[in-house]
């Protein structure tokens, strides 16, 4: 009898079937890796398992030790011995290690906490894992790697029999990864079952007993790690065919529009950690340059830093139209003809309570409306021109942005940047979360803009999109360029291999 069995899990969101009949088993003392592209359904599956999506909001069965479970919240799954360590750690930085480990379960009598028992138990737990950490240290004083280990200690203090690790090594140094793996092996020998989600195939193969590949919300294959290869796992991850929604186009390339040399971007939280490491590239007029890579590879950081909007430290040399320019702020970037259709339109792109008109004219307000005094009529004409051009489905430019569908919102953000008359346009996840019809319209627009001589740099997590639109693809892994392919050379397998660091 398996420790954990998930049967035919189906989870739907409005318009999307995120999980489409996924089944998954985990044995006691087993190390089972879950791999797949961004958006394949891994995180959704783990949220179903942990009760973040409570029973009833999905179809299918969850059995722990053979008995069926209906979790209505995280508490329930914790009580059933399931602990999840998410990518973003859920520790309270201001509290001590001991307080964090026992948060919400403090040893107490009549509401009075027994501190000596709390710290005694915490230090026993840490010793047990051979962690040289003082339980009275505030968590915020620890490095990310040690915080991760504290999180694991916390899970074990709750007698977790099933431990889920979501990208635990993303922020760790090599020696920290080694410590982590030693601890995981020890837990394994005690019979803890572990589900390991990672983009790094080398790690996956180093430690797993079995590997399951998810794609488009379905289980593609489950193999024993010893019976498969990285190449076949990659093939299974990308196995989808690039559909014909990408028209076959050839772009005429002109002069170099943007050249970036020696781009380094540092984390704002840990100034010594490089998120982008010495990247140089150039893009020509009429060219679409795709930037591929997995989550956390440094793609958005790259665009944000070139645009002058990165909150931490960065350095680079920029030439626009082969002339060196200083870009220290977004307004410098706009003045030099760089536009940036940011990711996450609700957070970075739109002022949701304002109208289409207000949003569209914001980035070029002085040019469109007037240097000091605004002119609504001129603004309306400008907004109307982009509404027509991009076929935004809105009855009036005075519609409020948050009443629009995702696709139309995305078009408003795109329109805002086209109104700045850019020579170089950055697109960060330009079709995330929008329906297929709107996607196609945006693809057509990107091709049209390239044809009109715009240089385009596009970041996308959707591999087919990168392959279908780009004339050239640069692949990033952990902030470094690990591959560069022309349109003819680029295949899903090659890009994915470069993105996972597998040669």
């Amino acid at each position: 009898m398996p420790l954990l069995e998930m049967r035919n899990i189906v989870k739907e969101f409005p318009g999307v079937r995120a999980l489409d009949g996924v089944s998954f088993t985990l044995e006691a003392g087993e190390f089972h890796s879950l791999v797949g592209e961004n958006g394949a359904g891994k995180s959704t599956l783990m949220k179903v398992l942990s009760g973040v999506y409570p029973a009833g909001t999905f179809d299918g069965e969850i059995l722990v030790n053979g008995s069926q479970k209906n979790f209505s919240g995280i508490r329930d799954s914790e009580n059933a011995g399931i602990a999840i360590i998410f990518q973003e750690l859920s520790l309270v930085k201001e509290l001590t290690v001991g307080e964090n480990i026992f948060l919400g379960r403090e040893p107490s009598r009549f509401g009075v906490i027994n501190w000596s028992e709390l710290y005694h138990r915490a230090s026993k737990l840490l010793q047990d894992l051979h962690l040289p950490i003082d339980p009275r240290t505030p968590v915020g004083n620890l490095g990310i790697g040690q915080q991760q280990l504290v999180e694991i200690a916390k899970a074990l203090s709750q007698d977790a029999r099933i431990l889920v690790l979501d990208e635990p090594t993303a922020a760790l140094t090599e020696s920290e990864v080694e410590t982590l793996f030693n601890i995981l092996k020890k837990l394994k020998s005690r019979g803890v079952g572990m589900i390991y989600i990672s983009h790094k195939l080398d790690e996956v193969f180093a430690i797993s007993d079995r590997i399951t590949v998810l794609r488009d919300g379905q289980t593609v294959v489950t193999h024993a790690a010893s019976e498969t290869t990285k190449d076949s796992v990659i093939a299974a991850m990308v196995g989808r065919e690039v559909g014909d929604i990408f028209p076959e186009v050839t772009h005429e390339h002109g002069d170099i529009a943007l050249s970036v040399k020696n781009l380094n971007v540092y984390s704002p939280d840990a100034p010594e950690k490089k998120l982008v490491d010495d990247v140089s590239f150039e893009v020509r007029r009429g060219e679409v340059l795709g930037i591929a890579g997995l989550m956390g590879a440094g793609r958005s950081e790259l665009l944000t830093a070139i645009f002058g909007a990165w909150p931490g430290k960065f350095s680079r040399e920029i030439e626009v139209d082969e002339k060196p320019v200083a870009v220290n702020s977004p307004s410098d970037a706009i003045a030099n003809g760089i536009g940036f259709v940011t990711e996450d339109r609700k957070r970075y792109g739109l002022i949701l309570e304002q109208t289409i008109l207000d949003n569209m004219t914001l980035a070029a307000l002085r040019a469109i409306s007037g240097r000091i005094v605004t002119n609504r009529t001129r603004e309306a004409i400008a907004a109307e021109s982009q509404i027509t051009n991009l076929r935004v489905k809105a009855s009036s430019p005075l519609m409020v942005a948050n009443t629009l569908s995702g696709g139309n919102q995305q078009k408003v953000v795109l329109g805002k940047w086209l109104l700045t008359n850019p020579r170089v346009l950055f697109l960060d996840e330009p079709t995330r979360g929008i329906d297929v019809g709107a996607k196609q319209e945006i693809y057509a627009e990107i091709n049209k803009l390239a044809k009109d001589g715009l240089a385009i740099v596009m970041v996308s997590s959707e591999l087919p999109e990168v392959l279908g639109l780009s004339d050239r693809v640069i692949v990033l892994q952990e902030g470094r360029v690990t591959g560069e392919f022309t349109r003819d050379e680029a295949t899903a397998e090659k890009v994915m291999a470069a993105a996972t660091g597998h040669k």
Binding site: F307, S329, S331, R347, I351, R378, I381
Partner: protein, 390 residues
């Protein structure tokens, strides 16, 4: 789609109508409860004068709130600036015109500098506005106590007192009223013509004129009521503080509705990240809006001091809360991005009407505070419920 848009547009207009209706109910109630003394030219003239200081500050406060910030220090800054004005006019014993120039310039210059300083701490040093201005609330109150050595400094200069106690006379009132009407009609005409000029269709002059009728009637009614107030048989006309408030409110409306600066404030308050990524210099604009509120606080301090005829160590205590309450009752969101000058002024009138009316009825002091506090919370509560439904 069409209906969606209409309901959105109407929601804003509806809000304004509801507020005007609420004000009407309050006025009628007080008129009835005071046996007909509330809605007389004399009382309305007093009411408008009473609200002018709060109104002037509320205009600046609204812009700060729209940008997603707050200023708790304005009451103390007002006191400090009033003290400086009195110091320049009386204590320094300068000859006549210089004394007033020194007092007025000192008051405005210092309030602008205080605004720049506090704005800088907020925008460039990332100290939360709440904390910076809470510190200011204490520190500037301390400064005025020090400046006035704890005493009230009387001002005898009649020219200066005119700012707070004067009236402009009925003739000038009608002249200004007529100019305002011409201006309103001109704006309506220009709006209609621009439709044609930009090739968006035919100009609808009739509709434009129709739209202008409500403000025109408002202007006539306002001047007429103010001009009907007689002191010792003389019709005195619009009070100077009210005229200043009207000018400040017009300036505020122009800034928020028709300038790049105003649009940036709404953008920053609505979504600071999106504004920054659209090339807006958030920090510089926040600094500017604090400087502007500072200048208006200076103007309010002059009106207040001139009206009292003296500078006192406790001048302007709690004025910040009146101004914030006026903005919030007028529909501004403390989260930023939402609010209008019109709403803030209506809010100030509603607050002043409650003060004035309850005073006339003889409601005890403590009860007045309890009622005002409850109304503030209830107004915002109802507003939130309305928003959730829509």
């Amino acid at each position: 789609m069409e209906e969606e848009k209409k309901s959105k547009v109407n929601a804003t207009a509806l809000r304004a109508y509801i507020m005007i209706a609420v004000l009407g109910v309050i006025w009628v109630y007080f008129h009835w409860a005071t046996d007909g003394t509330f809605l007389t030219p004399r009382n309305l003239s007093n009411l408008m004068t009473q609200m002018s200081v709060t109104g002037i500050i509320a205009v600046g406060m609204l812009m700060v709130i729209v940008s997603g910030n707050i200023d708790l220090s304005v009451g103390s800054v007002l006191g400090f600036a009033g003290g400086l004005a009195a110091f320049g006019i009386t204590t320094l014993e300068l000859p006549f015109p210089q004394s007033i120039i020194v007092g007025v310039v000192a008051a405005i210059a210092v309030t602008v500098l205080i605004g720049v300083f506090q704005g800088m701490l907020t925008a460039y040093f990332n100290i939360p506005a709440f904390i910076v201005t809470l510190g200011g609330l204490l520190a500037w109150r301390g400064a005025v106590k020090w400046l006035l050595a704890g005493n009230t400094t009387p001002i005898s200069d009649e020219t200066f007192k005119f700012i707070g106690q004067g009236y402009i006379g009925s003739f000038l009132g009608w002249v200004l009223g007529a100019l305002a009407i011409v201006f309103v009609i001109f704006l309506a005409y220009r709006g209609a013509r621009s439709v044609k000029d930009y090739g968006l269709g035919e100009a609808n002059y009739k509709g434009a004129l129709l739209k202008a009728t409500i403000p025109v009637i408002g202007i006539i009614a306002f001047v007429w009521v103010m001009n009907s107030y007689a002191i010792d048989g003389n019709y005195v006309g619009v009070p100077v503080p009210v005229l200043i408030l009207v000018a400040v409110a017009l300036l505020g409306s122009f800034l928020t509705n028709s300038t790049v600066f105003g649009r940036y404030l709404y953008a920053i308050g609505g979504n600071a990240d999106a504004a920054r990524l659209s090339g807006i210099n958030n920090k510089r604009n926040i600094l500017k809006v604090y400087a502007l509120l500072g200048a208006l606080t200076g103007v309010a301090a002059l009106v207040y001091t001139a009206r009292q005829g003296s500078a006192a160590p406790d001048a302007g205590v709690l004025k910040e809360l009146d101004a914030i309450a006026a903005c919030v009752i007028g529909g501004a969101s403390l989260m930023g991005g939402r609010g209008t000058i019109f709403g803030a002024c209506l809010g100030a009138i509603i607050m002043a009407s409650l003060d004035n009316g309850m005073g006339l009825i003889g409601v005890r002091d403590f009860m007045q505070d309890i009622i005002k506090g409850s109304i503030l919370v209830a107004a915002v509560g109802l507003d939130m419920m309305g928003r959730k439904q829509s």
